[in-house]
């Protein structure tokens, strides 16, 4: 068995693309025609409005990503591609989650929120909505520790990444 952590079997690809209609479909099509599942995806304009950055992680254990990267490069609207090694990159993801917080467990939950430095965004008598931005693996752990309280709704953004500064 592979001893790599789950995050390591995912490749993170960061592409700079022209900010135009249909570009995401072209990019996604290159993955789907090869039967690769896109695990997470984040798209937003860069500091230059003409371009967007698409960050995606793909589960391609064992299969070479090289060919997909080369095919992506052939797309006319793709300006730049970087494949980021998780070990040399900073990755972050944002999670919004609504957790059950009845009187009996509310105190424990608030303590946990504090420990993790998460933010409370909204609350009522029975639920608390909070947010946390962290490494994806840390979010997995946080999610696990919230589960005993009862998760009502959860949404993660998919990771974004940039190369680390050594």
């Amino acid at each position: 068995m592979n001893s790599a952590t789950p995050t390591q079997r995912w490749h993170t690809i960061v592409t700079t693309v022209e900010n135009k209609p249909g570009v995401l479909a072209r990019v996604a099509g290159l993955f789907s025609r090869r039967g690769y599942n896109i695990h997470s995806l984040a798209v937003a304009p860069t500091d230059d409005e003409r371009f967007s950055r698409i960050t995606f992680t793909v589960d391609v254990e064992g299969s070479p990503l090289d060919q997909v990267v080369k095919q992506l490069n052939k797309l006319i609207n793709v300006v730049e591609i970087r494949e980021l090694d998780p070990l040399d990159a900073v990755e972050r993801e944002l999670m919004l989650v609504t957790v059950c917080a009845d009187a009996g467990h509310r105190h424990d939950l608030l303590e946990l929120i504090d420990d993790w430095r998460a933010f409370v965004l909204s609350e009522n008598d029975s639920e608390i909505m909070l947010s946390l931005s962290a490494r994806p693996a840390r979010l997995d752990e946080f999610e696990a520790s919230l589960r005993p309280f009862g998760i009502a709704k959860l949404q993660r953004t998919g990771r974004v990444a940039l190369p680390s500064l050594d």
């Binding site: 099509g29 090289d66 060919q67 095919q71 006319i76």
Partner: protein, 584 residues
């Protein structure tokens, strides 16, 4: 730049004229109507086809023959979907082509309007790039970008989808200020094809060539796209290395040249297949290690080091690991390679290839292409027909073939001595390609003789374009090899399915090809015996005022050999049954 207010439709036609378009192939309909109006005044010749697929293949044939991009124009919906096959064909064979499609008005897109389809969505996977134009003002720029993308780097088809309201003069959205777009107007930040090969890699390649004892130049269609045939000839003669030309590269190196081994692959000849297989160095120039060439990959050319030259970096190492992969235009890289080899010293400094040369010529003597001539009373042998066509036509004749056994016989038995004389559908293997492609080739090269070699199955898919050839006065000649079967499929059922023939027999009775051809305005000749073959070809060649269809009734039992069966390695090549005894 003078500001002139015109409609998007006029701008589109003007932009095409500025790109140097002299002919386009198409068929009008609702959404593209406003563009067909200014065509009446245009210098561009429009060839009205009978089916949009025909327009696409004509544009391809034109591009194959002339090297200039082929242009097709059709309406929205069903016309656009009819174009999908030729676009995919052009994509797989890297044919430069620009296709204009009409689209419903911009505001109606996404409403399931009459004859609306998501043309850019559907064609995304079969084009090098496509555009949905939203503003009339963008038309000249996008047309310029489309031609630029289609013709540079690895060529390919580009589709431009044009909503009706930006070209229709009655719509306010169609008004635009005319400008002639130039390279400076292009907005393609992600498109920068690399032309020049890396010097250091080229030097390494030159050293590998110098040191190789059993080298082969493996030449693909990229050499034709790069117009590199002359450079290739210089290289091959300089280093005295044998050359194989793939199905897409037939004619890139003269078949009659001493160094030419002909076509490799599934139906390649024994020497070409075996030379690749036993080589110690394969110099791949604009070829892509297609499965029809490599056979079972893990047994392909096991001792060969690989030099791979391609303009498309995604090809380098895609199928077979390379030792040296050079991204660049084949012509420029071959020229640099010649220079680098010169700097290393002449061919006298190269490894001794005497033994290799005599091994190769030994195979050529022992395993020539063969077939058994028909006995009296038997039907014609297709190979004999191709030989007679070859011997009764000038060597610069342009030959277009369909897909099937007749395609392989044509590639094997014709002698291609000039580039751009063999036009066929390699990557997609599109039945019905030959007649429209031949019409397109003849349109681009009106002074050249153009023969389509077709099968009866293929003929029935696109023969209606012979009406186009008659009405538009584009006379071609068709050699119809009628074996009454989907012959290539029949061959596979005979060899791999225990002769259980399933749905491959077309008909011995219908259609009557002579009557059919005559009804389309063609001269038609039926040929059944060997003595009639040559006179029929001679007669066909004398008729130049209309198209001619010569139906040859050929022997359905004939199979294409040699053959490397699917899933086998090239070392397991099956030769003609009469030569089996010669295999060790």
């Amino acid at each position: 730049m003078s500001k002139q207010q015109i409609s998007g439709g006029e701008a589109l036609v003007k932009a095409l004229e500025h790109e140097g378009v002299d002919v386009m192939f198409g068929l009008p309909g609702g959404a593209i109507l406003p563009v067909y109006d200014p065509i009446i005044e245009s210098s561009i010749r429009h060839v009205l086809v009978r089916h949009e697929q025909g327009a696409g293949h004509m544009a391809e044939g034109y591009a194959h023959a002339t090297g200039r991009p082929g242009v097709a124009m059709v309406t929205s919906g069903p016309a656009a979907t009819n174009m999908v096959t030729p676009l995919c064909d052009a994509f797989l064979d890297s044919v430069p082509m620009v296709c204009i499609t009409g689209q419903v008005p911009y505001a109606a897109i996404g409403t399931d309007a009459f004859q609306e389809c998501d043309t850019t969505g559907i064609t995304m996977a079969v084009t090098k790039h496509n555009f949905l134009v939203s503003e009339a003002q963008d038309i000249p720029r996008i047309i310029h970008e489309a031609f630029h993308i289609a013709t540079t780097g690895r060529p390919g088809p580009v589709l431009v989808d044009i909503p009706k309201d930006i070209v229709d003069p009655s719509s306010p959205r169609a008004a635009m200020n005319w400008y002639q777009a130039s390279d400076a107007d292009m907005e393609l930040p992600g498109y920068n094809p690399v032309m020049e090969g890396d010097r250091e890699l080229i030097r390494q390649a030159a050293e590998m060539i110098r040191d190789a004892e059993r080298p082969v130049l493996y030449v693909g269609g990229g050499v034709l796209r790069a117009r590199a045939a002359e450079a290739l000839l210089e290289l091959a003669e300089m280093v005295q290395i044998p050359v194989v030309t793939t199905l897409m590269a037939r004619g890139a190196f003269p078949d009659r040249h001493d160094l030419c081994l002909g076509m490799p692959g599934m139906h390649g000849n024994y020497t070409a297949v075996t030379a690749i297989q036993q080589s110690d160095l394969l110099v791949s120039l604009g070829a892509r290690f297609d499965d029809r060439v490599t056979g079972k990959l893990d047994g392909f050319a096991p001792d060969a080091k690989i030099i791979h030259v391609d303009i498309d970096p995604a090809e380098l190492g895609k199928v077979r690991q390379v030792n040296v992969g050079i991204q660049g235009d084949c012509k420029l890289v071959i020229e640099s390679l010649i220079e680098a080899l010169r700097e290393l010293g002449g061919v006298e400094t190269h490894a001794d290839r005497q033994a290799w040369r005599s091994t190769v010529s030994g195979w050529q003597e022992r395993f020539p292409l063969v077939y058994q001539q028909s006995e009296p009373g038997e039907k014609l042998k297709p190979q004999f027909v191709i030989e007679q066509l070859r011997d009764n036509n000038p060597s610069d004749t342009i030959v277009c073939s369909g897909v099937g056994q007749h395609q392989m016989y044509t590639s094997q038995w014709w002698k291609f001595d000039h580039p751009y004389t063999f036009i066929n559908s390699g990557g997609l293997g599109t039945m019905g390609f030959s007649i429209p492609a031949a019409i397109g080739a003849k349109t681009g090269m009106p002074d050249r003789r153009v023969w389509a070699v077709d099968g009866d199955g293929c003929f029935q898919m696109t023969a209606q374009e012979l009406v186009t050839s008659t009405v538009e006065d584009i006379p071609i000649k068709v050699a119809l090899l009628n074996n009454s079967y989907l012959g290539m499929v029949r061959q596979w059922q005979e060899m791999f399915y225990d002769r259980r023939y399933s749905e491959v027999h077309l008909s011995d009775r219908v259609p009557d090809y002579v009557k059919w051809a005559e009804s389309m305005g063609c001269e038609a000749i039926r040929v059944e015996s060997p003595e009639e073959v040559e006179p029929a070809i001679v007669k066909a060649n004398e008729i130049n005022d209309r198209s001619v269809v010569v139906e040859f009734r050929t022997d359905a039992r004939e199979n294409v050999f040699p053959m490397v069966a699917s899933g086998k390695t090239n070392s397991e090549i099956q030769v003609d049954p009469s030569q089996e005894g010669l295999l060790r």
